[in-house]
Structures are given as structure tokens and as C-alpha cells.
């Protein structure tokens, strides 16, 4: 079986054919996966919202409000939820860059009176086995039903009420800061719209 000789024409031609075929294939696959990809992203968000809020019947993704927290780089999203047209709370993104390995990003669900309903960890790169325990039920459960105006979100070591994860005080601090940010944005939003149930 004779190999093609390496002349300029044959080299240019064979590479051209290969790149053309690969470009066409990729274009086709991209077209085909475009919708499922967008859908998968939406599903992930709506699942996180459902996890942190009590049952609702509105579409929080449509009612989303984007705000930029003071003294922070990136803006965050507030997803208000309604049931029978009545405000029942909101899922708010909170983040902190001061985790042990950078960004910690949470979605915090608040009831209409400002108490924490539940928290979902969206992004973190903490140390496996130490800081990653922030996803554990035993850690998150201490926040449920607490109102951040009476429950100090600092670590006990810093004079707050949060029990730090063993060996991961820095991760716990970042977690607390993220919740605090989410709470402040929730309060600003709810007060501005007279939604807070005192």
C-alpha cells in the first residue's frame, strides 16, 4: 500500500479536506447540542432554587433581579418566589473570595420574614475532607430557621454563633460571609419592595 508522497499540493489538500470535514462535523454537533446544553444549565439553577425555598408556583428564573453588592466585584442574582401571588421568600446568591482556595458561592433561601430556609453550595474549591464538609447536612442544619439579624454569622472563635468545621475555620468564615452578603441583599430587596413580613 503506497503512502502518498509529501508534495506541497498533497499536503495542503489532505489537511484541507480533514479540517473541512472536522469543521462541518463540529458545526453540526454544536447545533444539535445547543438546546440541551442551555436546558441543562437552567435545570441546575431551578433545582438549586427548589432545594432552598418552600414550595412555590411562580417562575423565579423569569422574575430574577440582578444587583451589585457594595464593595464587591461581581453582581449577584435574587430569585423571588411567589405562591398564589403572595411573596413567600427569595433565593439569593452570596459569595466570598476568601475561602481557603478562593471562591465560595452559595444559594441561600430566605423566608418572607428573613429566616434562613436552606442553603445550597454552588461552587467551592476547598480542601477535600475538611472545607468540603460545608456541603454536609450536619454543618448546614445549624443555619436553618435562624434569622441573621439575631444570629451572628461569624465563627464562635470570632465572637459569632457559627460552629466551625473541624480544621476548616477559614472555609467556615467564607461560608458565613457569603450568607451575610446574601442576607443583606435580600433585606435591601425586600424592604425596598415592602415584601418583608415583620
Amino acid at each position: 500500500m503506497g503512502k502518498k508522497e509529501s508534495t506541497l499540493t498533497s499536503m495542503v489538500l489532505s489537511l484541507l479536506v480533514i479540517t473541512l470535514a472536522s469543521g462541518l462535523t463540529l458545526g453540526y454537533v454544536n447545533d444539535w447540542t445547543l438546546e440541551p446544553k442551555a436546558q441543562a444549565k437552567l435545570d441546575r439553577k431551578i433545582n438549586a432554587i427548589k432545594l432552598v425555598l418552600p414550595a412555590f408556583d411562580s417562575n423565579p428564573l423569569e422574575d430574577v433581579i440582578v444587583v451589585k453588592p457594595a464593595q464587591h466585584q461581581d453582581s449577584i442574582e435574587i430569585y423571588p418566589a411567589f405562591k398564589d401571588e403572595k411573596f413567600i421568600g427569595a433565593a439569593v446568591i452570596g459569595y466570598s473570595d476568601r475561602g481557603y482556595s478562593g471562591l465560595v458561592k452559595l444559594m441561600v433561601g430566605f423566608n418572607d420574614d428573613g429566616t434562613i430556609e436552606n442553603i445550597a453550595v454552588l461552587e467551592q474549591k476547598e480542601t477535600p475532607g475538611l472545607g468540603t464538609k460545608m456541603k454536609n447536612e450536619s454543618f448546614i442544619s445549624q443555619f436553618r430557621g435562624k434569622h441573621p439579624s439575631s444570629y451572628n454569622l461569624r465563627v464562635t472563635k470570632d465572637g459569632g454563633d457559627v460552629d466551625a468545621m473541624t480544621g476548616a475555620t477559614i472555609s467556615t468564615r467564607a461560608f458565613g460571609e457569603s450568607v451575610q452578603m446574601a442576607f443583606e441583599e435580600f433585606r435591601n430587596y425586600a424592604e425596598a419592595n415592602y415584601l418583608l413580613n415583620q
Binding site: M1, K4, S6, T7, S14, I18, A40, R44
Partner: protein, 201 residues
Amino acid sequence: MAEKTEQRQNFLKGIVKDNPVFVMLLGMCPTLGVTSSAFNGLGMGVATLFVLLMSNIVVSLVKSQIPDKVRIPAFIIIIASFVTIVEMVLEAFIPFLYEQLGIFIPLIVVNCLILGRAEAFASKNNLWSSILDALGMGAGFILALTALGAVREVLGSGSLFGWSFVSEDANTFILFILPPGAFIALAYLSLVFNRLTVKTS
């Protein structure tokens, strides 16, 4: 008869004698990078098997049409195309795995196992042998990554395929889910693997 044994050899060599991870030590970047759990190892193995199979098929089919001097760029384009397809399909249909594997999916392109098989085998052998070679090598890669992931997950997280058998707050050998643990576990697994295969052959 000789033909048949030779074909069987093409398939089996990738699993035992020339196992890409434990014997040839190819594709170390994904091997060490993603095997923090058995499921991740399995997912990476299957993605690599797919790319390896497709690239071996295409390379074997077009080998006589590609001039020698541009064969490497041609192989790379073929491999990169299939990797991109895998990436898009995973993101669309298995977003969970896509997030877990992250940067290591595009890095399949530079997995020397795939280019190595294209260059050393598929460009010199016919279609059927190349398919068997890809399946064998891919199976060997899946086995190795899943085994490594399983060992690291059991020791490091106290679970297997996500099924936990210690309490949530138990202290496990965290070392094994961290990068140094990957090297240690890989070294011991290769040791055991080579010891066993040397004995049998």
C-alpha cells in the same frame, strides 16, 4: 488460526501485557487528575475509550491518503474533533459528569495514549485490528482508572461509587483524595499489577 490468535492478542495486550496505565505509564495527566472517586475514573475512562476508538477508526481509514510529513497535525485534528464532540455531548446530556471532569475533558486531546495508538498502531494496521487495539487499550485504561479511583475513594472518602459506608463526619485518609495520594495509590497499584502479571506470563 494464526490470524485469530493475532487478533485476540491485539485486543488483550491493552488490558494486561501493555496496560496503558500500569505498564506503559501513558496518559498520566487524567489518570492522576480525575481519579478522586471511582465514578470519575470510570467516566474519564469511557470518554477516553470513545475518542480512542473513533480516532483509531478514522486514522486507519485515511492513513494511505495522508502524506507522511503532515501526519501528526492530521491526527491531532482528528483527535481534537472527537474530543470536542465528547465535550459538547457530555455538557448537554450528562452535566453532572461534565462538571466533575471539568478541564480534563479538553485535555483528552493531549493524552499521549491516543496519539500514541494512532501513530504506533492505527497508521500501520488495518481497520479491524485498529478497532480491536482501541477497544483493548480503552478497556485497560477504564480498568486502571476505575481501580485507582475506587482505592482512593474507599481510603479517602470512605465510600465506593458514591455509596458511603462511614458516617458523614468520620475522619478518613484525606491524603488519598489529594494529589499526593494519587501518586502513592498509583505506585502501589502498578506494583501489585506488575507482580501479578509477571507471575502469570
